[in-house]
């Protein structure tokens, strides 16, 4: 057992190290943070010395050999220092600080939506499989395919517009964007923050449910004809209960993988939801890091997501074993 775990950990460390180093080297050789910091078209170019000092401070000086920079970065990494951010705004915050500030925000945003979406998806998928070809099945199917056919920003905007229409008509509505309102205090602030969570949660839940329900429907269809369900019915379980206790569990086995990765993904946030609801989570940090040619940020994010992915993979294997005693 110990051997098994240590081999796995070792493999993972190697994988993460490879991916991150690869990411760093790629980013460092491909990206031009100096152009972002000091745009060539800027009307007032800074003195060369200032620029050099700045780039050295960030370990992004293109005049320093790539491997030297890599070594600097690795050295920092060993000490738990991920370097500092770069970008147009010349902010020089430790990447680690930025990440640790943003992770809780992403988590707060994503967890609830993912959980609700998963549960709804599983339930809808199961019900539509059992009540196949009913009106409910057809409308759920139609809706979910429409949802997967829309770009996420459009789904978000539609939800926001619906909220707006309700607010215009009734006077009551939810805050459209922003997780906090600094103008409020105490209880009011808490109420605002709770309300602000509603719409992103709806969006995330709806999107997750749309695709989960499709997968869940087919895995459920696959178990519907099985003998053990007949046994469960013969024991005296009603349709629904037999499905819940015996069918569901079997149908969930392949879904375990998706759940595990959804949990991992919750930590990296959801780009569009964060962007369009203006939450300062990890998801948009990833994109801004890449588009700002932020080498340290990009490498750190790759490291972070790599670790999360592998943790998810482990969780997935674990879930599979948990759900299915046969393959233990």
């Amino acid at each position: 057992m110990a051997r098994f775990i240590s081999i796995r950990v070792l493999t993972y460390v190697i994988l993460v190290f490879l991916a991150t180093s690869f990411a760093y080297l790629l980013a460092a050789s491909l990206m031009h943070p100096e152009d972002v910091l000091y745009p060539p078209a800027a009307p007032k170019p800074v003195p060369e010395a200032t620029a050099q000092a700045y780039m050295n401070a960030r370990n992004i000086n293109p005049d320093v050999p790539l491997f030297q920079r890599y070594a600097n970065w690795l050295g920092g990494l060993v000490r738990g220092d991920f370097g500092v951010t770069t970008g147009t705004n010349k902010e020089m915050r430790p990447v680690l600080t930025v990440l640790s500030e943003r992770i809780p925000i992403s988590l707060r945003l994503v967890v609830l939506g993912t959980v609700i979406g998963t549960v709804v998806g599983v339930v809808v998928g199961m019900v539509t499989a059992v009540r196949r070809r009913s009106i409910g099945d057809r409308s759920a199917t139609l809706l979910s395919f429409v949802l997967v056919s829309l770009p996420t920003p459009v789904v978000i905007l539609v939800v926001q517009q619906i909220n707006q229409a309700i607010q215009n008509r009734t006077g009551y509505g939810l805050p459209a964007i922003n997780p906090v309102n600094p103008l409020l205090h105490g209880w009011d602030a808490f109420v605002y923050e709770s309300k602000a969570l509603v719409m992103p949660t709806i969006v995330l839940a709806v999107l997750a449910a749309a695709s989960y329900s499709r997968y869940m429907k087919v895995t459920t269809l696959d178990v519907l004809g099985s003998d053990y369900l007949r046994t469960a019915r013969a024991k005296g379980l009603t349709r629904g209960k037999a499905m819940n206790r015996h069918g569901l569990r079997m149908a969930l086995i392949p879904m375990g993988q998706y759940f595990a990765f959804a949990i991992g993904a919750a930590f990296t946030g959801s780009l569009f939801v964060e962007l369009m609801f203006n939450w300062q989570g990890v998801g948009r940090y990833v994109i801004s890091a890449i588009s700002m040619a932020d080498i340290n940020g990009t490498a750190a994010v790759v490291l972070y997501t790599g670790v999360l992915t592998l943790l998810s993979a482990t969780l997935a294997d674990f879930l599979q074993g948990l759900l299915d005693p046969r393959i233990r």
Binding site: Y228, A234, G236, R249, P325, R326
Partner: protein
């Protein structure tokens, strides 16, 4: 007479399949009264299972049903799902024919049994319910029930799973038990124990039992009344004695004549028609003794074979807490043209042995040689060639057939490997189906669309597809009615004598064994306790267990069965430990 607990009127069931409509049951009417044991016998595929599923209200959605079924005066077709669910498992329960895939693979055995208690008696605590599950496991003869309750279905042998089904059926002491071939995978001693259990339930609680079986011996010893079915219709019904001694219909007579009898030597004394036709099979099987055994080449040799399953604890972090010695050092050999029977207690490691042979690899311990060559040392090509020459009929016919493949393709599969032409495969599929008494149009049906016996025949047909030299059969006739069984056995006997095909034959039906096999090995707890030529073992059993087995064989003659009944089916059997002095395990457990 007491009033009927169940009455079936003009029941018809049909299915639509690719090859057109299948009329599974037609105009079936019968009644079962309180305290009565009704046996339904008849041709395989005649609608026995379908009609009983109809009673449970559990036919698959595609079935078209007409007629009426009244359960304790209530029409079940007018009842809601909830009302029916309240009855199922409590007032009326059923043991399904294919017990091997009927358990949910991901739940522990104990939980699956206690669930049935808790559904109908939510007031029972979890703790109590699992105690009850353990009690029930013990009652059906599963040793070490406390540990076994913690295992999953795939860790159980075929017979053990079947007993789990029985345990679930009797858990709530129902008024009506429908047992669809409940003892096919059980050895005779356990079978006797289980039948006694059912009988006592019937006698003590006044429950009614519907027993569907092909074992005329069981019918003779258990049933009050018998209902004979053929070709989706009722043929005749009557008291057990009347059926056995004065059958009115030709089919009933044919059926009885095809029953193999262990006491065939003494048949003249019996008034039963049972067994007459089988004598010919036995003659074919044993006549033609050309070369003496010693001079024939050895086809299969098993030497000191071991197979150990680890016993683990913990769902996530697995710890090995002991080992289950499923096969514990057995040796035997089979010569060309020889049929060797492996009999023994349920769960003693028979299937495991067969599987080890079929792997064609070095076993955990010991050696397996085919044609004198150790299986461990085979090259790829040799192994591939052997695969066509050694074939297996699985114990669980359902699980061994790909549910998403039509039967025709299943039968073609081994032939494809051998590169048969399409034309030849088609011809052969037709022939194979006919040989096992299925129809060519069945080729386009899927396994789920067959009756239990039909599936089993598909399994046998597949094993025969490519002219094998060694066939390993794991209970190949347990679900067959006796006429079909006679046909299959005759075919096997014929192949053996004329083509020198060898068999390793696992069966609990000692009468069948007696008819077909040349040699016999008796297995218990992972070891062979006795072996020798068939007649020798039958006539002069040496080991205690062999004697016990032979004594427990049911005789297809109601009178004989009743006189024997007292000796074997004793009251203690219900307590579940009559055969095992020590509360140990089939196969020994070492921590």
């Amino acid at each position: 007479m007491s009033e009927p607990i169940l009455s079936v009127k003009d029941l018809s069931v049909a299915f639509d399949t690719e090859a057109g409509r299948v009329q599974a049951v037609q105009d079936l009417s019968y009644q079962v009264r309180r305290g009565e044991a009704l046996a339904i016998v008849g041709e395989s595929g005649s609608g026995k299972s379908v009609s009983s599923l109809a009673v449970m209200g559990l036919l698959p959605k595609g079935a078209q049903i007409s007629g009426d079924i009244e359960l304790m005066g209530k029409k079940i077709f007018t009842m809601s799902d909830r009302q029916l669910s309240d009855l199922r498992g409590d007032t009326i329960s059923m043991v399904f024919q294919d017990p091997l895939s009927a358990l949910t693979p991901v739940y522990r055995i104990g939980d699956q049994i206690s669930e049935v208690v808790r559904i109908h008696h939510p007031e029972v605590s979890k703790q109590k319910a699992s105690e009850r599950a353990i009690e029930l496991l013990e009652a059906v003869g599963i040793p070490e029930p406390r540990r076994r309750a913690q295992q999953y279905p795939h860790e159980f042998s075929g017979g053990m799973r079947q007993r789990v089904m029985i345990a679930m059926a009797i858990a709530n002491e129902p008024e009506l038990i429908i047992a669809d071939e409940p003892t096919t995978a059980l050895d005779v001693t356990i079978q006797a124990q289980v039948m006694a259990l059912l009988k006592s339930a019937q006698e003590m609680l006044g429950a009614a039992t519907i027993l569907i079986t092909h074992d005329m011996g069981v019918v003779a010893g258990f049933a009050d009344r018998v209902l004979v079915m053929k070709d989706s219709r009722l043929v005749e019904t009557g008291d057990v004695e009347q059926i056995f001694y004065e059958p009115r219909e030709q089919y009933t007579r044919d059926l009885l004549s095809a029953v193999p009898r262990i006491d065939q030597g003494a048949d003249s004394e019996s008034r039963s028609v049972a067994g007459s036709a089988m004598r010919t099979v036995a003659e074919v099987a044993t006549s033609d003794d050309t070369t003496p055994r010693e001079q024939r080449p050895t086809v299969l040799e098993v030497e000191d074979l071991h197979r150990v399953y680890p016993i683990t604890k913990g769902a996530v972090v697995r710890r090995k807490v002991g080992e289950q010695r499923a096969v514990d050092g057995i040796s035997f050999d089979i010569r060309e043209g020889e049929c060797m029977a492996l009999v023994g207690e349920s769960g003693c490691g028979k299937t495991t042995t067969l599987m080890e042979i079929m792997q064609l690899r070095t076993p955990q311990q010991g050696e397996i040689r085919i044609d004198g060559r150790p299986t461990g040392g085979l090259s790829r090509a040799e192994r591939a060639k052997l695969r066509s020459e050694v074939t297996l009929v699985f114990q669980d016919p359902m699980a061994s057939l790909d549910p998403r493949m039509p039967i025709g393709d299943i039968l073609k599969e081994p032939m494809r490997v051998q590169g048969y032409s399409a034309q030849r495969m088609n011809e052969r599929v037709e022939w194979l189906l006919k040989t096992v008494e299925l129809r060519p149009e069945h080729a386009s049906r899927y396994p789920t669309e067959f009756s239990g016996g039909q599936r089993q025949r598909v399994g046998v047909a597949r094993a025969l597809a490519c002219d094998p030299k060694l066939i390993i059969l794991d209970e190949p006739t347990s679900a067959l009615d006796v006429t079909v069984q006679a046909g299959v056995l005759a075919l096997l006997a014929d192949l053996k004598t004329r083509l020198g095909v060898s068999y390793l034959f696992v069966s609990h039906d000692l009468s069948v064994v007696r008819h077909i096999s040349d040699r016999i090995s008796v297995m218990r707890k992972g070891r062979i306790v006795e072996s020798g030529p068939t007649h020798q073992v039958f006539e002069n059993p040496q080991h205690e267990y062999t004697k016990e087995l032979l004594d427990a064989v049911p005789i297809p003659d109601p009178k004989v069965a009743r006189t024997r009944g007292g000796t074997v089916i004793d009251a203690e059997a219900f307590q579940g430990n009559s055969h095992d002095e020590t509360p140990s395990e089939q196969g020994s457990v070492r921590a």
